[in-house]
């Protein structure tokens, strides 16, 4: 009799423990704290890159009545930087958990898979919040970026974008067997979203099918939300709907990541 065998233990992916989630987030942040160069890069790099864009368009004349190109592109970038950076950082961090054996070990402890993934989301989301405050602060004071709405909404959208990046990074890392594969998921997941988000070509001018693809990519909504904040003094319903869609996509990606994280491997 070898029936009762593959006694698939009840999956605890759904068992959530706030205590274990915050313990994990604290651990990830402590790892980050020991890596001073990474902290410096996280905090300073987006501002420097934004400065490059500012200098690029500073002397390019704009049509009267139109927003300057830097105001349009710079604002969008405030959402794209955290998304890209957190995607990369997370997929590498998760791959390290896998190759160092710590992931397998964690799976033998009471921590659930969702605790683990949400812990990462919480940790890198907090790091992204700090990053966003610095970048938005520098953009609006040093580079005179014009934002009609509240800059705190820009920070909020940047953080939600970062969490989306974390969630997709965690999901992608499940499919990466090596560091080489992990870094190549960045162009696969990130670049199409960037191309089609409406920054390079307004969405109304895209071919119909490209627009349809753009409709299902979460970054599209993040960019639209930022454009709403750039345009209107008050938070609009469209903006909140966009933020909700991005957050929903992040949660969906986290749930998928938890489902693809196998406790038992061969």
């Amino acid at each position: 009799m070898t029936t009762a065998t593959t006694d698939r233990p009840r999956t605890t992916a759904a068992h959530l423990s706030p205590r274990l989630t915050t313990a994990t987030a604290g651990r990830v942040l402590r790892q980050l704290r020991h890596d001073h160069r990474t902290i410096a890069m996280l905090l300073v790099l987006p501002s420097l890159l934004l400065g490059l864009l500012y200098l690029l368009w500073k002397d390019v004349p704009t049509l009267p009545g139109q927003p300057g190109t830097f105001d349009r592109v710079g604002l969008t970038m405030l959402g794209i930087f955290p998304f890209v950076v957190m995607f990369l950082v997370t997929s590498i961090a998760m791959l390290r958990e896998r190759t160092s054996g710590t992931l397998e070990r964690l799976l033998t402890t009471p921590v659930s898979r969702l605790d683990l993934l949400l812990g990462y989301g919480l940790a890198f989301g907090s790091a992204a919040a700090l990053q966003a405050v610095v970048t938005v602060g520098v953009a609006t004071t040093v580079y005179d970026l014009e934002v009609t709405g509240s800059v705190w909404l820009v920070v909020l959208i940047a953080v939600v974008d970062a969490v989306l990046g974390v969630a997709l990074g965690l999901l992608a890392s499940a499919f990466a067997r090596s560091e080489f594969q992990a870094v190549q998921f960045m162009p696969v997941i990130v670049l199409p979203q960037f191309f089609l988000c409406g920054l390079l070509v307004p969405r109304e001018q895209m071919a119909g099918w490209l627009q349809a693809v753009s409709d299902v990519l979460p970054l599209t909504y993040a960019v639209e939300a930022l454009q709403e904040v750039g345009r209107s003094a008050e938070a609009t319903g469209t903006m909140w709907a966009d933020v909700g869609i991005v957050a929903g996509a992040a949660l969906l990606a986290l749930a998928l990541a938890a489902a693809t994280l196998r406790r038992r491997t061969s």
């Binding site: 313990a23 020991h34 406790r263």
Partner: protein
Amino acid sequence: MDAVTVTDLVVDRGRRRVLPGLSFTVPAGRVTGLLGPSGSGKSTLMRALVGVQRVRSGTVTVLGRPAGSAALRSRVGYVTQAPSVYADLTVRENARYFAALYGRGARAADAAVADVGLADAAGQLVADLSGGQRGRASLACALVGDPELLVLDEPTVGLDPVLRVELWEQFHALARAGTTLVVSSHVMDEAARCDRLLLLRDGALLADTTPARLRADGRSDDLEAAFLNVVRAREGSPA
């Protein structure tokens, strides 16, 4: 009372059958040694005990429940062969994180670090430790949960002899306090320190014995020689 019961366990890795049908029990409150050469299936078996190995068929019952059950995860400690701790955290930070996962506090973490003799290195990054120290840091992260079953995959590799003796003394102290230990090793001189021996070769159980019985069966006081004699007797070649 048996802490672990394995019945007809079959495990495939890729197309290779690593464990072709293993059955044995592990007594509670004892140090059971899993001895065998590299590639004999020790690590695979240990992964099955802690419930992270996909098994083809057979049952693994740990402390009365199927291996890997959610309820077991706070009762079973696992130390992998390669130290699986965070290199970019200090020893203390590692121990405190695992303590938190097991629902224990900072004091339990500091005690576990002291138990493995790393109190003086508690504030150092694991990346800056020697190989042996890293292994002990990894051990501390399992001890901190105060597990009923401790599964240790080659915990003494690369340790100097003094430390090795100290660790084995600690294993026996744990067993005296009621902990069940399963310790793998590929060096036969460690077999002498076990209460119970499982000799594994090519995924098959060559002997389920004790050091004294192995010496008698293998007609040698030297366990290595006794083991060889048993292997040869099994394979039908003259001893």
